[in-house]
């Protein structure tokens, strides 16, 4: 288990909802709701955090959630319990998941690969547990291809990564590098906030 990442998010857990629930989450709600509307089958939700997104999931599904931070999961517990469907939450590092190969039909995640320290290996682990032909849908913020935004995000990353995410990740490239076929990228804000849909080739 990557204890540095776990401790960082444990520390952030108490103020996480306050930081994001009114601004960012409300802003992103329509795009996230749209992304999650495709949920079906046996689903892995990576990086549950405090469970803010659970309210946006369709009801009646079978969802397994993981997160590296036990304190984030502690905050999420009431939301997990309130979900109208089957939901379990495990404390697990994406690099080190205890699920069998080909366990899930779909994988979803939001705002995760800006903070997973080794994103390509994390994505390869997801590919292992996803069934061949399965789909992964992500809501992520990434670096930008536009100047001067890319410069600004490179400058900000050392600061932002102290207590939270990195701002300049190349997540679409990382998804491809992990062996997925990217089928759709939808820009939500500039080319920075986006949804990514990728398939695992059969």
């Amino acid at each position: 288990m990557d204890t540095a990442t776990r401790d960082k998010w444990d520390k952030t857990s108490k103020r996480y909802d306050l930081m994001v629930s009114k601004g960012a989450e409300k802003r992103w709600e329509p795009s996230k709701r749209d992304l999650y509307s495709h949920m079906k089958g046996k689903i892995l939700f990576l990086a549950l955090g405090t469970g803010l997104d659970i309210a946006l999931f369709p009801v009646g599904l079978d969802i397994t959630c993981i997160d590296i931070s036990p304190k984030m999961l502690e905050q999420a517990q009431p939301r997990v319990a309130a979900y109208d469907g089957t939901m379990v939450a495990h404390c697990m590092d994406v690099h080190d998941m205890e699920f069998d190969d080909n366990s899930f039909d779909q994988i979803y995640t939001a705002c995760t690969f800006c903070s997973v320290p080794d994103p390509i290996n994390g994505l390869k682990s997801l590919a292992r547990v996803l069934k061949p032909g399965g789909v992964m849908r992500m809501f992520e913020h990434t670096g930008s291809t536009l100047f001067p935004f890319n410069l600004m995000m490179n400058i900000m990353t050392p600061l932002s990564s102290i207590s939270g995410p990195e701002m300049n990740r190349k997540t679409v490239d990382n998804v491809r590098a992990a062996g997925f076929k990217v089928t759709e990228v939808d820009n939500v804000f500039l080319d920075v906030v986006k949804t990514i849909t990728a398939n695992l080739p059969k």
Partner: protein, 132 residues
């Protein structure tokens, strides 16, 4: 593109406040004793830093994440550069710094919305570069 009044208002307000404050501070800090190029570079960095602090302290929790931070830092960078350069050539009254800064904030707000209207939606995957 964002059309909800609450967020459009937040984007505008945060750019006006960040721009105005950076303009005011740069007008106060820089004078003709500064070399113009050095003033510009220091002003740019100072502007970005002030904008970042204002954004985190006042606006991030209320209005969004990248949608607030990126435009505000651009505003801070441009205002910092322009006002410090002007102040290194001739005195810039504080009120002028405030007004011009807020004006740049407004222009950045418009530019971001124009860019956003062109970029939002599905990306042509054959064109995606390596920056993302």
């Amino acid at each position: 593109m964002e059309k909800r009044f609450y967020f459009v208002f937040g984007d505008l307000l945060s750019n006006l406040v960040a721009g105005g404050l950076v303009g005011l501070i740069c007008a106060a800090v820089f004078s003709s004793s500064w070399n113009m190029i050095i003033a510009m570079v220091v002003g740019m960095a100072l502007g970005m830093l002030i904008a970042l602090i204002v954004t985190v302290a006042l606006f991030l929790m209320l209005f969004g994440a990248m949608e607030i931070m990126i435009p505000n830092m651009l505003t801070g960078m441009v205002v910092g550069m322009i006002i410090s350069m002007a102040a290194s050539m001739h005195e810039v009254p504080l009120l002028t710094g405030l007004q011009d800064g807020a004006m740049v904030g407004f222009i950045v707000f418009i530019i971001i919305y124009c860019l956003q209207s062109r970029m939002s939606g599905k990306v042509n995957l054959t064109e995606t570069g390596s920056g993302e």
